[in-house]
Symmetry: D2
Subunit: 415 residues, 4 copies
């Protein structure tokens, strides 16, 4: 495993220095290059922004120093990623945007040194991009990975992969994919992850499937794997451990989404505060000001509670990956809903301009709204959260805790 | 006043016949012609759709028969407008879209027979379009009309109008504007409405100001009136009565927005129901189904309560315009928020496809979201609603009702 | 069937006269007799209040004139019941409180003339009280009546009833119960309703089971039926039709709850308005006033939408009982939640006094909160509402409507 | 200042040991002694519970060891206080209930050694109780302390205090009060805090003013100070520093409320989970189960986000009192609303029993609901939060940050 620095190596002062450098970079280099609502990011802009970030010394903060990054440990990502997320282009500029950021994290945790040289190094440098092939068209693996229909069968010392993936964010123009496929060993089937170059024969990217957001470069297309042959060392980690690795990726990946988009929500909130300072709210007269204060306060509460649950989850992920991943569900649901509310309130506070294309609020909304669905729809997360709570409570009862729902008659009470 | 038919002329059976004809028309002629997300409607499409609506016998339902409409009274508009609103293009096809529909209503109520011939007839026929010049750039009339800065001064037997309007929905390509301007008569100033041809010297339409919605043809630009001369018969109704007329327009205009967009919300809800029937919700596995039922039920509740408050408000507008306009604030706030919730829930229920551009849900959301701001931001409406409630209660106290907040000690109680 | 008057017999003026008489009666005779928080109503108070209501000419408004009532048709109940509900004691005073009101309605609809004389007449006169035996302890009939475990078997020309009912509101001190029991005829089992005197041998009322509310006299105890013999004419309506009759009772009973408690919510809202007029809100300084206006406006919106959906449902119940009962689910969920919100907001607006026992707000809250559970918990209602919506949509698809969730590719679009 | 231990003195293992001891104590000694709904705690019960807590080694965890407590630092209070709060009687048993806990904290921070011996020692030992005299009847100091009308004037080497306080929680039976009064020194007035024995001549406790909650012993009465003479050393801290000290008390006091009541919310949530395990939800059939999972998940999210913001605020209070107090507003609003929602959801999940007096949920609700009002109504807090956000943003703009709400025209865009 190739690690970032330890938390002890990053004093509060050092973290704050990086935060401020990132903040300045976003304001000076990134915000002026933001695109018109609805426009797509192209590779040229990506290259330019990443070159500027490298110059500014803020590139790849979350990547280990051995691979050209700044080595920032996960406990401090939120501080920096929120600053990056203040612009929809910021995370891409810093090379900490999905799906590459999650893929880098997984490669650092699981890949062999040779795989890291071949895949992680150019990815961390921004020399290539990647995608993650997990979701499949109905009735394959949706948010339920166990329905996986893509298969990999042994072929000499290599493998042959066949299947179709959908919502392969970033696939157009990506250099390689990390693909989850079912493998059968000793008669039992399990999932395995493979590193697949996108130019391997048999890989075909389908039509771009566009969604309302724009900040992820490379679309969300279907990718077809038609009998794609990969060598034996294309297996990422161990055969049959794919689901476990997917969990390794999932917790932090969900949480970094929270971090980046919370940064964007802060921008929306600042826009509303700036407009409020100009005393024209809801495009409207000042009488409704108190209602505005209520909305602004609700946004502060959403920001602070999101910030707190992110920090707690990041700390937990660093010390107890399993508990951290479980808590990342809670963080994901809370933050994604809080972020959407913040941006929505800001649109409302600004009034007519808030839904115009001359302020970026409507496009910020389009950017953050899908997060309530991505990485496991919030309703699916709620189902999982409730199930975990029920199981944890059942374990308590099994350990002797009495059920607390027994009816009681009160002595001397008239009830 | 040029009226529609009386309610008695429209039996339930006749209303239902028109409803079904509208429903069939929307499905057969309008939905297949819907545009890609983000695309703008052009005049050619408008002409085609309106020609088809005329053929289908569903054109201009709300317009008096004397002016080529179907004469449907306001009590029944909701039934038909909701069917029209099932497509974002439907109300335009039927020529019952804002701002023309509201302008037609006001012309029917207030204009002279000559003005009606010159302006209402071609507007009702779809031969021209119109805009309504009320909102002004800060610090002019925003949602507070009394800050009006556009002026009209007498010039011989005519007037000269100067000022700037913003958010002039539909202005690009419009044939005429109804413009609110301050006039001074006998030393006291008041607002007066004027009918101004858009090709009159001095009228200049500014840059298109685009918002996230697309269903209103003609943009929301600024319109400049630079010393525009109009004849004496350009005054709409009486001099100095502009604010009163604005109220006449406002109540029904707000309510027809509720009707049209509730139709669109029904479409979003149907999409979610259809997807639910295919058992794939939130892009996700079936376990979360119960949560889905909760969301679907909430949408039904939002639809039914919106429908009920619209019907009640429409009935009240027909019998007591002042009370109806007051209740239209309540209806506007409830319906605009309910409609946004319904579309949002449907996006969520459908999952990844729900935020893609291959289902229209994200663009429906863009269509309905601004309604929480348009026609008086909901927060401003809440301020007005609270103020009216406080005044009504004060009148009750003045009439002898005791204040009910007095503290009380209970005999024999221990409290 | 013994009916109330037709709507045509009640002009708006006549309804308003009764509304004002009820309003005056509540203020003059009922509010001064309200009890300390937590106190229970006794029979003496009931007798006094009902005598006063009779004197004031407002007693039993919803009862047919043949049985001593005012004959008010269901379309106008809401107007009067809301006035009655302005005090928690008001509906009892007018003899239109649950469960008696629902039982009277069912007796009027279903009972034989002899049964009406024996049971409806004294109940309508306030000479006795009644209860409704439907819910059973787990695993019997909860909100799912089909799990019914109470049985009635033929015994000569009569029946023998055995079983246990819970949440038998009003049972303590009641004269008779309407009991739902499974009967087996010709080999197939169905539910049948029976009229059972509470002093019949084998009827035993369990301990009082108190809930947080106080306005229903007679507790919510378990009632045991131990081989209770009743004559053949104890069957209410036809054998085997119990579930159908339960539906007859259910729709109006749910809706009259909405009416009565909406009246109480209006009282809470008035308390908040009166306190707001004194400019001390949240027990706090005036700066937060705008937030207060937002809360007050939300209460107005909740009141008006509740009022509108109640009126619509009542009208539908009068013309299409099945559709009305379905819509009563929607009304019940919306109104019960709106009413709780209104009372909660009023507590909040008033501040410390709002949670003290010197204003009735906390006890009003205790009165209305259970309604989100009573008469079918709102979550169960949501499940039923969603299921009905899904079925209705399925019928549309079967009738040729295409599924609207098909993905679409746009010609010429870049998406 | 008399401090608790440093965080370093409390390892995770040691904190967990205390947590488990508290947990066991609450279950074994406290829950069995809980009172019937509506019953008041008496001094006998308090003495018994505190004796048991002393025996169990869990008494006064937050008090410095020098004064007989366990010395737990504020960073770890939440863990233990939540366990204590699992019963409404728990915090009283541990002597960490309001208002004594906040008063102890202030005495530890501000009082002289002599004052600490005279007042803190017996209070920490549970030998006496105290109250805090801040709020006054309208138009005095409500949540706005600057309107303070109680005065203290120099009288020889002592002072004479006159005024009236309201909502003096715990006053009945208290040994002393900490009273805020206006003092005038060198011509300028400021607030000063005084230690006043409740048996000093001129102190008079008014009628008990009961609120819906029961867990604070000693009522919430008015207290009258009629020319009460106190010696010079009755001044707590420095003359004129009363407002500053009130802030010292306020932040932690608000936060410990969050901790204690979050523990009670966890109990309510456990009750719902236990009932859910028995598969009977909403008093209803299993079909609605998914909706139940949604509610349970929402409660988990509320618990975890509350826990996270409490921990963050406690840590901040320990290092930056001013910033911690500001954040405590956010924590207070979020937690108080989350806690009420959790208890409300649990009532709903349990169904009819949930609103009965045979489960404690309705009385838990009565316990937690006032917290949305106590310690500064949430709406007042929102006003303050919004104002702080506006000021912070204004400082950023003054430091060079551009206003972000400027309209922008996009080159090459069609918008």
């Amino acid at each position: 495993m190739t690690t970032t620095d330890t938390p002890a190596q990053w004093t509060a002062a050092r973290v704050d220095e990086l935060r401020l450098a990132t903040r300045a970079f976003i304001r000076e280099e990134v915000i002026p290059r933001e695109l018109a609502p609805g426009a797509y990011i192209d590779e040229e802009l990506r290259a330019l922004l990443q070159a500027k970030a490298r110059e500014a010394g803020v590139f790849a903060p979350q990547v280990a120093r051995a691979f050209g990054g700044l080595g920032l440990p996960i406990e401090h990502w939120s501080t920096v990623f929120q600053e990056a997320g203040y612009s929809p282009l910021g995370p891409l500029a810093l090379n900490c945007m999905a799906p590459d950021e999650g893929n880098m994290h997984m490669l650092a945790e699981i890949a062999t040194p040779q795989q890291q040289e071949a895949y992680l190094r150019p990815l961390a440098a921004g020399d290539t991009r990647s995608c993650f092939g997990m979701s499949e068209p109905h009735p394959g693996a949706g948010s339920d990975p166990s329905a996986l229909r893509t298969t990999a069968v042994r072929d000499g010392d290599g493998w042959r992969i066949s299947g179709e993936k959908r919502f392969s964010s970033g696939a157009i123009g990506a250099g390689f994919a990390i693909v989850m496929a079912m493998t059968v060993e000793a008669g039992s089937s399990a999932a395995t992850m493979f590193l697949v170059p996108m130019d391997a024969p048999g890989v075909r990217v389908g039509d771009a499937l566009h969604t309302m957001d724009r900040a992820i470069i490379g679309g969300h297309p279907h990718v077809h794997f038609d009998d794609v042959r990969v060598p034996g060392d294309a297996v990422l980690g161990a055969v049959g451990q794919g689901f476990r690795y997917a969990q390794v990726r999932l917790g932090p990946a969900r949480l970094t989404h929270c971090m980046r988009w919370l940064g964007l929500a802060r921008r929306a909130h600042d826009i509303a505060l700036d407009r409020a300072a100009a005393r024209e709210l809801f495009g409207s007269r000042i009488d409704a000001l108190g209602i505005a204060q209520g909305l602004l306060a609700d946004s502060v509460i959403d920001i602070e509670t999101s910030d707190a649950i992110i920090a707690r989850t990041a700390a937990l992920l660093a010390t107890d990956s399993r508990a951290g991943t479980a808590l990342s569900s809670v963080a994901k649901v809370h933050c994604s809903e809080a972020i959407v509310r913040i941006v929505d309130r800001s649109m409302q506070l600004v009034g007519g301009d808030g839904v115009s294309e001359h302020l970026p609020l409507a496009s910020f909304f389009a950017e953050v709204r899908p997060f309530r669905i991505y990485d496991g729809a919030n309703e699916t997360q709620r189902w999982a959260i409730a199930r975990r709570a029920a199981k944890a409570r059942a374990r308590e009862r099994e350990a002797g805790e009495p059920a607390r729902d027994e009816l009681r008659r009160w002595e001397g009470g008239d009830a």
